[in-house]
Symmetry: C2
Subunit: 493 residues, 2 copies
């Protein structure tokens, strides 16, 4: 044990020791029944006379905080825990650098739209708000077995830092998956990241500086919006129609604002579920080329397609290193894997690899190896088939429930993949109150309000995740939502 | 399977399909014996006539790339792989944004001092270069069992996103460990990070902007230096003596340069092994208070002490939220856990939590739970005792070997903890040649050169990791090093 003592202080050493231990007991970090170090050991650890420690222990024992048990040592006694209030300081008590001059920065990093795991899970509401698939589908048992196998097979190497750009067999396997999805990639152009959120972060830090402008769909993924906001990047939204971003408007915005990056989710867009048409995809690449703007393509659920035929990724249409592509295994497999990847060509690739290393040194080698093993024994494809079957049913279930309960008061497009339905309410309501009332009734969703976009046309939308809940809960949740909505509408009118 | 086809192109659809599959086979992403999708399936997937796919397959078969096997499908045939050269483009072939205007940025993110896992492991050299402990000590089997247990116990919850600031029981356990080391902390002031590299990154992004100045020890941890450099932060080094940073010099630097952050490794400093004296620690806190500068304390191996009594952390001496503290389980346990943590008070804490979420959403919940379980069943303390016993022996072994083989030509201080010896060579040598020659002889280390500091006094130092190798290898490695050094000296003179 180390105790910070100060020989310059007037306060005697024994009472400094006493006070430190007393505080630790009272704030609960030294738990009841904890054995304290012996007097000999502590006096050695902190280089004081044994008598000093003995005196401190005697004082603590006299105060009823600890107890010496002959032959077994000194132990912390049960006590009434005293609430400390040091963290309730008002702002002015913190150092200046934590205060006013940093207000701008604090504003950036607080009041962010909720990253969607902040819902109070204790109430166990019907949850249409989240950004992940159904945890019940996570192949946990298989994954557990594979972890064992990989640890046994690879030993310490599997738990040491691996290659900076990621585990080569995993990069190879990803290339094969990407090829089967129509996107040719080589392992030396793949960078494994800690989820695709890190990928967005890396690209942003590499290509943009505070004050630069990024074009995105309007609305777009809240985690990207928050990240741009927090980094001082200005975001400008391009409106969507059924075929994706409206490129004529975009081109005017480019001429006016000179953006440094186009961030897009062309397939099963978050939150609207819209997929960009093939024609638009080609045109987008051409525009990016004409104006020399890099594209970051976020393909977060590209493989979760339920109907129709797939569109090629922007990456597959790009022959000149214009598109940086990112995807993740979070939605299709498990978020806690924390494994996403980037595909990039040209000089930017090595920069991204270096930046990734500087950011967190490495993504878990063990998880990379386990994922590779899972993918290469072919479980992934059958897991994906099963997942798609189920999510398609849930989408249909939600579509039917909306038609049944909300047919008159809302409209939407049926998404052909992904996990979201983007619902437009016909009547204007107070969305803050609506969400509050819904939460009380045990149903939550993600409101367009939180996308804090400038686009007023979006104010009457909500985002519903149809993949997360069972069909029974989807039906029940939409019914509850419609009741709350009707109550609110009639009380407002 | 999806294939990017373009109906606007003059090239017929069948040949677009043919070309895509041909490329995929030739660059190896469609492996030999892979089964291609049926004609019916592919035509549905990409919405073309079956005849179109059939024609493409016929062409590919005629070219000897695939084979139709009656009743079982169409398969990729063995072939001579053709090396592609698209990634060998010269710079001018990349989009403009990948070229000249980005040169400044590219310079920042390339030519970084090697993050120390870039050594070619195939040669299996005696490795004094790394920044981690001995992988043979990783408690792999126990960890594997705990992973099983936690997956069984927690199910899907253990593999979903957890609390944004980290798994509460782990934060509680960390508080207990910190208290036993003399630093009182509360769980609501702890933020779990993806290693301490991420912690440094978060603090830097929160408090500094490009052009700002950070004061560090000179020399200091290369990963922090690289990160500062890559982010456009100016780093100024404060020279060390045996008691740590020379604070008189530091104060003058503060007056002159107005730094926005002091980054320090006060305990078993990397690379020098020096620990800051208690008196200096208190004075540093006072200076930081006087000039309103936050301190980032990097305690990467604070618990690996072999002799003497420990110094209090800066954090434990700080009563006013001046010090942001970071530590990690990478050195004491396993780097691949990717778990470090921050202790911070005041408004800055929530900003760091938000920034962490924006950066990579979450640190693996499963690993956090497994670590908590490992720590709370008390294995950690015994693991740490065992590790310290072994590393102390290895330190002594390296000290003896240096005295024996390099006694006349080098000097150093014996570190009382950590994993590094910082060795000063008496005679000036060409360090690039020295390292090359050593590598040829199968011994590698980390040269002070790579710390690219302005401080010329540091040019004749090398850093040796004594924790990574067995005693036999330490003796052998130092002997080899001395031979290479002698040969080089005599050839130079």
């Amino acid at each position: 044990m180390i105790i910070p003592i100060d020989r310059q202080k007037k306060e005697p050493l024994y009472s400094q020791i006493e006070l430190f231990i007393k505080d630790a007991i009272e704030n609960g970090t030294l738990k009841v029944h904890t054995k304290l170090p012996s007097i000999r050991q502590l006096s050695k650890d902190i280089n004081v006379n044994r008598m000093t420690v003995e005196t401190a222990y005697q004082q603590l024992e006299a105060a009823g905080l600890i107890e010496k048990r002959l032959g077994s040592g000194t132990f912390v006694l049960p006590h009434h825990q005293i609430e400390q209030t040091t963290s309730d300081k008002v702002d002015s008590q913190w150092p200046l650098w934590q205060q006013a001059p940093q207000k701008r920065i604090r504003q950036r990093y607080t009041n962010l739209s909720a990253i969607p795991h902040n819902i109070d899970k204790s109430d166990n509401p019907i949850n249409f708000a989240g950004g992940i698939g159904d945890p019940q589908l996570f192949p946990i048992n298989e994954f557990s077995k594979i972890l064992q196998k990989v640890i046994k097979r690879d030993g310490v190497i599997g738990l040491s830092y691996g290659e900076p750009n990621g585990y080569l067999p995993l990069r190879n396997t990803i290339c094969q998956i990407m090829t089967s999805l129509g996107t040719s990639a080589k392992p030396e152009n793949i960078l494994i990241t800690t989820g695709s959120q890190q990928a967005i972060n890396l690209v942003m830090h590499l290509l943009l500086k505070p004050g630069d402008i990024v074009l995105t769909e309007s609305p777009t993924y809240s985690g990207a919006l928050d990240l741009f906001k927090a980094s001082g990047i200005k975001q400008i939204g391009v409106p969507l129609d059924q075929d994706g971003m409206q490129l004529d408007i975009m081109e005017k915005m480019i001429q006016q604002h000179h953006p440094k990056l186009i961030y897009t989710i062309p397939t099963f867009h978050n939150p609207t579920g819209i997929s960009m048409s093939g024609k638009r995809r080609r045109k987008l690449i051409a525009i990016a080329g004409k104006y020399n703007i890099p594209i970051l393509e976020d393909d977060y659920v590209g493989d979760l397609r339920y109907d129709g035929c797939g569109q090629p990724t922007l990456k597959s249409l790009d022959t000149g290193g214009r598109v940086i592509y990112t995807s993740t295994f979070s939605k299709m497999l498990m978020p806690d894997l924390r494994i996403g990847f980037i595909i990039a060509e040209g000089p930017v690739y090595n920069c991204l690899v270096n930046l990734k290393c500087l950011t967190d040194l490495a993504t878990s080698n063990l998880f990379q190896r386990a994922l590779e093993s899972y993918l290469s024994i072919g479980r992934y494809q059958s897991h994906l088939r099963k997942t798609k079957r189920l999510y398609r049913k849930r989408r249909d279930c939600m579509v039917n429930a909306i038609n049944k309960y909300l047919g008159d008061c809302a409209s939407f497009h049926i998404p052909t993949g992904g996990i979201y339905i983007w619902l437009q309410l016909h009547e204007e309501v107070d969305h803050k109150v609506l969400l509050e009332n819904c939460t009380k009734e045990g149903v939550v969703y993600f409101t367009g309000l939180e996308l804090h976009t400038e686009n007023h046309q979006l104010k009457n939308f909500i985002r519903l995740n149809f993949a997360f809940q069972s069909e029974a809960n989807i039906e029940k949740g939409i019914k509850r939502f419609s009741e709350v909505l009707n109550n609110l509408s009639s009380s407002q009118s």
